[in-house]
Amino acid sequence: MNFSLSKAHTEQIKAFKKNKRALISFYIFLILFVISLLSEFIANDKPLILKYQNNFYFPIFKTYMDKDFGGDFPTPADYKDPFIIKNIEQNGWMLMPIIPFSFNTVDYDINVPTPSAPDAKHWLGTDDEGRDIVARILYGFRLSVIFSFLLTLISSIIGIITGAIQGYFGGKIDLIFQRVMEIWETLPQLFIIIIIASIFTPSFWSLLIILIAFSWLSLTGLVRAEFLRTRNMEYVKAARAMGASNFRIMFRHILPNAVIATITFVPFLLAEGITALTALDFLGLGLPAEYPSLGDLVRQGKDNLQAPWIGITIFIVLSMLLSLLIFIGEGVRDAFDTRKNN
């Protein structure tokens, strides 16, 4: 496959860079995503580095036992335990992350009823179970974006392959495929997820598979149309006259042209994926409680109107994330729109 940056692509990158709003959005999104990838080092209930009796420990990468630091139990060490803290500080030192809470750390030292309001310890307050909101957003952001990335990537691949087969071969294959897709499309997606969720608890991967099962449809039509158009181009005929195989024609000649049409859609699919996951989590049909999820925060915001910091925070985070993706998407769309460039 030939996805190397041809000259046509560099022109499109140039056009994208000219769009200041899209470019700035892209950089902001990139920075936020990199930060969220480093969540463990920013918000964690384990120290980044720890010196104990002249040995260095890295609790983020390895689980140490209570016994290792002078405790009595063969259970993972709890670095919030005053006894352990005292022990470590007597025999060395430890460096905690900026936010000493992970997404699932329940802070038992709060003296007010949860959700607690923002203060120096919890910058954006805690949720109704006493978990730090900054930490939950950081992890939730990462989970949403990665989930949506995987969803977009896999459904694009499936969509491109099915669209390519339909468009290239046409005729009966196309006809049958189209009817199957039409039936598939009319299946009520939400009810199927509710039924599945009531049978077994969804996990990251099972939810991903269910959503992929429906989202691949969105690209198929586009790729099919692109293949239908391009397969009659004279350069395709020339390749066929030269004895090129179907596979070669599809991948070398038509696909690079069709990919352009699909790239335009990718940022919007990403935004859609994030919205879908958040909505499902909000309804309680998505990821189970042990995952950090943005949708769960939306639900808490709704349930705890007396604690507006939850609702306001998650509103700002979600609207910013989706706006960034839409701005990037618009930039990409305009850059690849050949009519506009000329």
Binding site: N2, A8, E234, K237, A238, A241
Partner: protein
């Protein structure tokens, strides 16, 4: 006395990046009453823009003129005059015919209504009278069954009829000037001839002046009294049509005229038949019955048999829809067919497409015959990738460079992309791609039709040279009788999927037997 005088006209366009594109530079010409002025030039020479500026149809303010520019119609300055004054003149005093009649007519309205509309706008008559006038006009432009045709939609008419309707609309208000921008380019030769005869006829009947724009000198020669030759936005030569053709002064005019008179090369006849076609049929299903069985076919190629000797050129000529391209594509295996095709006495249905390298094809449209996402090296190299995958990259590159040089391109072109080349260069690349597999038989499907005349001549010369050097056999498919005459040893005339006449070049051109062939030749010369 001149009815239209254009003086020191310059036209520029502001480009997006702030640059200025100068389309026309300081041209002056006059149009006398009752005269046909031909403007000839290649695409991009500024001839259409000049015509559009007369009617103020340029995209102002993106387009602009210099202060000295002036276009006077009967003494009235047209440039920078008010929009409603111009509207009186457009379609009233000055009529306009465009190149592509299909896109100039509104597909949703009946043609009678469209003609009547211009009459109502400019003459202020009732609809009933306008329709009567429209009917008269249709009769004037020679449309048969005019009364029924009033109610026809544009798609129900043939290309020639549509152009007649366009002419009817243009002359509806008895214009003093008719501007015809490539009115015959999209039409078949025989239809071209009829349209030109109609225009000459109308000119005399209605006492009009005509500005006739074309890239085709043959057409200009037939209709024009005087000719302006344009190149790169300038008029390089002006004169009476006979002077220009018999004693051209400018070197560019000379090349234009010479490009029409290429040497006819006779290839030696060898003994072995490289190609033998027996009872070839290519039928497309048109209607199917309930059970999916075909009840009606389009017989694109209907029972054709022919033989071709190695080293010769077979010209296949015919109007659009005659099945000539379908025949060519069947030989390279792009169409399903019934019948037998033998190449070197081997039935090609017995050999796989991978082994079919000895037949290659060059297509008409240089714009979509090259993949826009591959560079020239990748495009030309592809044949080697498929048929000689074991060659080293260096060896492949050497062969690509060698064949590029043969078609007149440079090694530095290897990394460029198709959009960086002109139409003629693209066609050279397409030829290089076909040649790299060292074919014995090359099918040229209208290889020059989309090119300017001077470029056409270069490509034809190149093809002749390659044929001599490589002892290739050509099948040259074209609707252009001049190109056919230059290239072919033998000529097959096709009509409605059948070969109506087959003979040597001399037989066909000097003693055409069929009326159809005679019409084709008469229309071309």
């Amino acid at each position: 006395m001149s009815i239209l005088s254009v003086e020191h006209l310059s036209i520029g366009f502001h480009k997006k990046n702030g640059d200025v594109f100068q389309a026309v530079r300081d041209i002056s010409f006059k149009l006398n009453a009752g005269e046909v002025l031909g403007i000839v030039g290649e695409s991009g020479s500024g001839k259409s823009v000049t015509a559009l500026s007369v009617l103020g149809l340029l995209p102002y303010p993106k387009a602009f003129h210099t202060k000295e520019s002036s276009i006077k119609f009967n003494g009235q300055e047209l440039l920078n005059s008010k929009e409603d004054e111009l509207r009186q003149i457009r379609g009233g005093k000055i009529g306009f015919i465009f190149q592509e009649p299909m896109s100039s007519l509104n597909p949703l309205h009946k043609i009678g209504k469209q003609i009547a509309e211009t009459i109502m706008i400019h003459q202020g008559v009732s609809k009933k009278i306008a329709m009567q006038k429209a009917l008269k006009l249709l009769i004037t432009v020679g449309i048969k069954n005019a009364r029924q045709r009033l109610k026809a939609f544009p798609h129900e008419l043939s290309g020639g009829q549509r152009q007649r309707v366009m002419i009817a609309m243009a002359i509806a208000n008895h214009p003093d000037i008719l501007i015809a921008d490539e009115p015959t380019t999209a039409l078949d030769v025989t239809i071209q001839k009829q349209i030109i005869e109609l225009l000459i006829n109308l000119k005399q009947k209605l006492n009009m002046s005509i500005i006739f724009i074309s890239h085709d000198l043959q057409v200009i020669k037939k209709i024009a009294d005087r000719v302006c030759v344009m190149k790169d936005g300038k008029i390089v030569e002006t004169g009476a049509v006979d002077d220009i053709f018999n004693a051209p002064q400018n070197s560019y005019t000379k090349t234009l005229i010479e490009s029409r008179s290429l040497l006819n090369i006779n290839n030696k006849e060898s003994d072995n038949n490289i190609l033998k076609i027996e009872h070839l049929k290519v039928w497309y299903p048109l209607k199917k019955n309930f059970w999916g069985k075909c009840t009606e076919y389009v017989k694109a190629v209907n029972d054709i048999s022919l033989k071709l000797k190695a080293g010769q050129t077979l010209g296949i000529v015919g109007e659009s829809g005659s099945g000539k391209s379908t025949l060519g594509q069947a030989i390279v295996g792009l169409n399903k067919y019934i019948g037998d095709i033998f190449i070197n006495n081997q039935n090609i249905s017995d050999i796989s497409s991978q082994q079919r390298a000895f037949v290659q094809i060059v297509f008409q449209d240089p714009y979509n015959s090259l993949n826009p996402r591959m560079n020239i090296e990748e495009i030309v190299k592809e044949g080697l990738d498929i048929h000689h995958p074991k060659l080293s990259p260096q060896e492949k590159r050497n062969r690509v460079v060698e064949v590029l040089k043969e078609v007149g391109l440079k090694e530095t072109d290897l990394n460029k992309y198709p959009h960086e080349f002109s139409g003629g260069q693209k066609q050279r690349i397409a030829i290089a791609r076909a040649l790299i597999l060292k074919p014995q038989l090359l099918i040229l499907d209208e290889p020059t039709s989309a090119l300017d005349v001077t470029i056409q001549a270069q490509v034809l010369k190149l093809l002749q040279k390659i044929q001599q050097e490589r002892h290739l056999t050509y099948i040259f498919i074209s609707h252009d009788m001049n190109a056919i005459k230059t290239m072919s040893d033998k000529i097959a005339v096709m009509k409605d999927g059948k070969i109506v006449e087959l003979g040597s070049r001399e037989e066909i051109f000097n003693h055409p037997k069929q009326e159809y062939t005679q019409n084709l030749i008469a229309a071309a010369i």
